[in-house]
């Protein structure tokens, strides 16, 4: 059985700071990490491999050359192989163009049974690439997977909803996007880290996967960023006066009442 896991290297958004003068992101020194939901996707594939060691787990990403570090981490966790789609021609791709590239990479890998991906990446939060890969490959998708079971080629999953979940059945191949409730990702092992450092990571160009400027890159993308900016900080509020908790609460309620808020 062959499983492809789509992953993304993202800046750790918890660490991101804004330059208050220019209103731009300060990226210097911000750590790059394996996207959280993608770690859950990889874990689920590795659990299948734990049960059946003949399973082949291949991680696939699109990104700049430094995404190699994240792929080495994935191998250190237990993936067998890693593929990096990296080419200037792929730069500036929106979700539509990104899914064209990833779908082309998946077709080149070929003979897959399952594709796991994270629900969404913490930099863009779109949750669009998983479903769009499924559409480009012409196979079913199940998003927000919180529980996964497999019997032969039949799979049964719980798909989260805001107020509960659906129990869904489908057959392979299909695309599954994973949420953190699904599992707890494992740590890298020492042996894995050595394996990761020594691993040969395949780097494929746009030409290698057979996509051109009509399918990938900034110009092919149907959406464009028109403006990007930071919200202005709100005007200073009122510091409620009072020496005791009783006074503080009383003064707050008096203020709220005066302004007809309550």
């Amino acid at each position: 059985m062959k499983i492809i896991v789509c992953v993304k290297q993202v800046p750790n958004t918890n660490e991101i700071k804004i330059n208050p003068e220019t209103g731009t992101l300060i990226r210097d020194g911000v750590e790059s990490i394996l996207n959280h939901d993608d770690a859950n996707a990889l874990e689920e594939a590795l659990k299948i491999k734990d049960r059946d060691p003949k399973t082949e787990v291949i991680v696939l990403t699109m990104g700049p050359p430094q995404a190699r570090e994240m792929l080495e981490e994935c191998i250190a966790m237990g993936a067998d192989e890693a593929v990096l789609l990296s080419d200037r021609a792929l730069g500036g791709s929106d979700t539509w163009a990104t899914s064209n590239a990833l779908a082309a990479g998946i077709r080149k890998i070929g003979n897959y049974d399952l594709i796991f991906a994270g629900r969404q990446a913490i930099d863009g939060d779109t949750a669009q690439v998983g479903p769009q890969i499924a559409e480009k490959l012409g196979i079913p998708q199940i998003t927000y997977v919180r529980e996964f079971q497999m019997e032969g080629k039949r799979i049964t999953v719980q798909r989260a909803l805001e107020d509960g979940y659906q129990v869904l059945k489908t057959t392979m191949p299909c695309v599954l996007t994973c949420i953190k409730e699904l599992n707890t990702p494992r740590y890298m092992s020492i042996r894995g880290i050595l394996k990761g450092a020594a691993a040969e990571i395949k780097v494929w160009s746009a030409e290698d996967i057979g996509v051109n400027e009509e399918l990938v890159g900034l110009k092919a993308s149907p959406t464009n960023v028109y403006r990007s900016f930071t919200p202005k900080p709100k005007g200073k509020g009122v510091s409620v006066k009072g020496d005791t908790a009783k006074e503080l609460a009383g003064n707050l309620l008096a203020e709220l009442k005066e302004k007809h808020i309550i």
């Binding site: 979700t95 959406t223 709220l256």
Partner: protein, 358 residues
């Protein structure tokens, strides 16, 4: 490039579950109504209602502003499946050619919209929090609320394209996205952000019944069952008052105080990610970038430092009251009323005095 002149009207996917309209559907009809009038006098806002036996919802859609209802009724649309809904919607979009299609950014909308956009080879913008047609209004927004430069944007309203504004990088950055070369322009919109129109009982519109070409062979995923969570659904998005707690509560016990607070003021309990991750309260209470976006009349932030991801989900509140020991906490900076003190003393006092004051 698509022939833009062929594409008309603003469509709203009015999501229903078990025959009940989702709140976000009403909100999007309100927003779609506004956008349609900005585009031109003869542009209409149209509800697209898909399901099995959903006649009873048509009048409600008119009442919330729909000029037209496209009703796609089919027994294979009873339960949501990506395959059936994507096919029905894509076929309808190809036939009627709307200029804009809006979806609620629900767990279903975010599953369906990308699949349709990929099939139509058009652009989709996720989780929008603001939509503009009118360029002058958009420029005004940028000047008033953001640090963006308005250089190079003419104030004239000569561009009828949809400007779709959304948070990225956990709310640290905002971006406005456009779809210049393809139609329709598609967006998912965060629940709780847009305002519904006032309900007009007895309003009438035009009903167009769409015959979906669906067969069981189109559906590759079988819905075995739909399980409602046993826990009560926390309706944070509808709450007028939210009493939210964070790390400063110190323990799961701390949320008992928040429950008492919410019960007294007629509010709902919210939580920061830190409190949820500590296991003090269920994730359904989480407010923020990865939780729910809320817009209550009053947001009480008790012991919440105010990480940017949390702010992303509650900044739109009419009035923010922060209670925190640390006067430097970011939440204290964005609060309309900041109380520097021990929440375990201040909150019981607010509870005690609430009746006397209101």
């Amino acid at each position: 490039m698509a022939n833009f002149a062929e594409y008309k009207d603003v469509w709203v996917f009015t999501e229903q579950r078990q025959g009940k309209l989702m709140n976000v559907a009403r909100q999007l009809l309100g927003e779609g109504y506004r956008l349609s009038r900005e585009i031109s006098k003869d542009t209409r806002v149209c509800a697209v209602l898909a399901g099995d036996g959903v006649d009873h919802l048509v009048d409600e859609l008119y009442a919330y502003g729909a000029d037209v209802v496209y009703q796609i009724d089919h027994f294979l649309l009873k339960e949501y499946t990506t395959d059936a809904y994507a096919k029905a919607m894509t076929d309808a979009i190809r036939t009627y050619k709307p200029e804009i299609v809006l979806f609620g950014a629900t767990f279903i909308g975010r599953d369906l919209a990308p699949r349709i956009a990929a099939r139509l080879d058009t652009g989709l913008t996720a989780d929008c929090t603001r939509l503009d047609i009118n360029t002058a209004n958009y420029v005004e927004y940028l000047k008033t609320y953001t640090t963006a430069s308005t250089d190079g944007i003419s104030g004239r309203n000569d561009d009828n394209g949809l400007k779709q504004t959304r948070p990225a990088f956990g709310g640290n950055l905002m971006a406005t996205i456009v779809t210049p070369n393809t139609r329709p322009q598609m967006a998912t919109v965060r629940p709780g952000v847009m305002d519904p129109r006032e309900k007009k009982q007895g309003a009438r519109g035009q009903l167009i019944r769409v015959c979906a070409q669906l067969s069981a062979d189109d559906i590759h995923v079988e819905v075995v069952e739909v399980v409602k969570a046993a826990k009560e659904l926390v309706s944070l998005t509808d709450a007028d008052i939210i009493c939210s707690g964070g790390r400063g509560l110190g323990s799961a016990e701390g949320f008992r105080l928040m429950e008492e607070f919410a019960a007294k003021v007629g509010g709902v309990v919210g939580a920061s990610r830190a409190a949820v991750d500590s296991g003090w309260i269920d994730q359904s209470h989480q407010v923020g970038q990865t939780g729910t976006t809320v817009k209550p009349k009053i947001y009480f932030a008790c012991g919440i430092s105010g990480a940017i991801q949390h702010q992303a989900g509650m900044k739109g509140s009419d009035v923010i009251v922060a209670v925190n020991k640390d006067p430097q906490a970011p939440m204290m900076q964005i609060a309309d009323y900041a109380i520097c003190g021990d929440l375990k003393k201040v909150v019981p006092e607010i509870i005690a005095q609430w009746d006397a004051e209101s």
